[in-house]
Amino acid sequence: MSIQSPESLAHAAAVRDAAEPPSTRSIATRPPERRPRARGRQLLRLLRALSRNGKAVAGLVILLVFVALALAAPLLFPGDPSRIGSGGATPPSAEHLLGTTAKGQDVLALTIWGARSSLLVGFVAGVLSTIVGIVVGLTSAFFGKRVDDALSLVTNVFLLIPGLPLLVLLAAFLPAGLGTVIAVLVITGWAGSARVLRAQGMSIRGKDYVGAAITSGERPLRIMLREMLPNMASIVMTTLLACVIGAIGAQAGLEFLGLGDANTLSWGTNLFWASSDGALMIGQWWIFVPSGLAIALVAFALALCNYAVDEVTNPRLRRPRTARSATAPTTVARKEDAR
């Protein structure tokens, strides 16, 4: 999962590019909104619909809990959580709810403090990747022709170069640190979102209201930001969520391999230390489980939101074809095939 990045989104678009088979029309790229005047309202409607979606609410609640815990870390566990104490590793007890590490650090404190950097890196890298994706995708879609050819080529090349090996190579060459981790994640993560956003942008570019804006002499930047982008809210959101999932996982992977900055306190470094202290070997599961579970829960929550966005915007997934399964729990879209 460390490599489940937005690239996965893109192969749906790849299918379409290669063949455009009508019977298998991919769901990731859905028809754009038809109302040219709706602009900013699409996002609002999307959010309103999401608030009534069980999955979205569940995912959001999990996320908010983690964000709240991360923000409250200094209040919950004042002092330096990685401060080395004595006493060695102790199993969970009333005093230390999740036990302590071999260095006498409270595991719960480490996990909650670790959320800060993990979530920060995940969201910053995710947002930056998406922004790069939007810029490249929209430019590509708006200008078309040569610009599109060139940008698509670069995007496809970056999509194909295997992410984690490139990540490892970059991390090996650049000095360790949070900035490096974020930069490296953006470099390896933007292409997937660019691919999807370009495909979506292309179809909006063909709409009459965009054509009208061009004829009326509006500046390209304004058209892209005011006319096109607002109508892509849902796809931008799914892209963003996928990018964040990818970034959090990739950061953990890098740090686990010892390629991150061992002094930052994050879930990945917690696992790195758990492993280098041999926690699992001697059955000290309480050191090993919390950070891994936290990563999984956050990724799961983001995935839930992602599926919810899909359901809300894609009626076919919501309504089963036949009545026999009217009570079917609606699930998921093809967001993450082929990690």
């Binding site: 401060r83 080395i84 071999a102 006498g104 000095p175 061992a262 280098s276 202290d277 041999g278 001697i282």
Partner: protein, 552 residues
Amino acid sequence: MTLPIRRRAVTVLGIGAAAAIALSGCTASGTGAGSGEAMLTIPREDMGTFSQNFNPFSPTAAPMTQQAIYESMLVYNPANGETVPWLAESWETSADGLTQTFDLRDDVSWSDGEAFTADDVVFTFGLQRELLGGFDYLADVQAVDDDTVQFTLASAFSPALFELGQQILVPEHVWAQQDDPANFENPEPVGTGPYTEVSNFQAQSFDLLPNPDYWQDDAQHIAGIRMLAFAGNDGANLAAINGDVDWAPQYIPNIQTAFIDRDPEQRHYWFPPTGAMINWQLNTTLPMFSDARVRQALSMALDREQIVDVGMSGYTTAADCTGLSGAYDAWRDDAIVDACDWTTLDLDAAGALLDEAGYVAGADGQRTTPDGQPFAFDISVGSTSSDWLSVANIIAQNLGELGIEASVDSPDWASVVAGYETGEFETGIVWSAAAPTPYQFYRNVMSTESVKPVGEQTFDNYHRFGTPEADALLADFAAASDGAGQSAAIDGLQQLFADEAPVVPLFSGPEWGAYTTERFTGWPTEDDPYATLSTRAPTTVLVLTTLQPVEG
């Protein structure tokens, strides 16, 4: 749509899956051989894969090249301070200290049957100096006769005995034919060692079988040595814990619970503190670290007990003011140790010393340097050494209590060492020289000849401290022809170290080693320290020629 083709594609996928599932349905097969013919299995934790390179001059030679395949004239054992004659029966130093004569055994032959002679020794030293340099003090090496080799030194240098005696020896008849000996992979090595025959070489493991012409009777009790490759401690430790290896020479965290407790009868460990001293070095070219009082005060602020307990899992002993590791217990002057206090935690005394030196605390508790800057610096340590990283964190924590702001800087080792070498660092954790005598240690931390200006690359004395007094004492030691003279010089150096604190010694590097008696017995122990449990030391061959398989 072309249905037939699709069907084919789907069928192929189906067969693949079925095969894969069938494959993965197989049961695990047991590892490890039974007793009797069992191979002595040893993990190597820092080589992810092996290359069939048994060139002893190559830094990437396969493990055991220098321990089981090639041998030296003598073996120095730091665990008990004894010197074991090996390919040489005896040796003699001339009264003026300028000649070293080794009497070689006459019953030694190479594993291809050729006799081992003094010419091989002469050839090896020529090759060693050509390929890797060193031995600059040697004026000449001569074969007096087949079994006698004589070294002439340019000037008296008493540590030479061990350096010359522990040089790995290679056969002239093989190596003289190599056009490019530095790059010679030597896949089928010819050596004098007990286990020279390479067998079943794989990237993940290889075996060494007994040398058919070994010179010692009754020394090859084991069927062979089996090395396993691991890219990190994790895998190697798992192998040890699971009982897949007989000898685990790597760091095992929580060894008591993780390893011993699973079979307390058979499993044992012994971590003698006979490795090199691990130091916290302060760049003495910086004004704040040029004052011996500051260096001593910083040392007094350290909780070495916690460092040893938490950072090193309690596996070693804390340093004292002589800076000597456990390998040099015989040289240690207890009077100096007792009289000195700057390696004992004492925050008040440390604070007083800093106040005296002008590093006073402000209203916020933070200390400033005499010119008003905050007293703050980095502690460099390589990111891959997780144990030392913990040590650095504890140091930073300890100093915080004294009002000093130390932050841990941990890029990869390459950039850390690059900074050390050019003198562009503030403080850092560093190893020290390991040699049979303390001469090298003291030369590297205190001699003026080893000091290079900042910006110029050096491979020792990173902290750039030198004093002429040390030079004089080191010269005395080199020229001393007897033990008494050497001791006197080393006593002087210990006192000088205690006065100057050129580096802040932390703890002796332990010689890691754990083993199980399930398949082999006769391991060195604290009660019988005939060698250490290292698999990379000159003493390894002593263990290899002592171990006995368990009968049955």
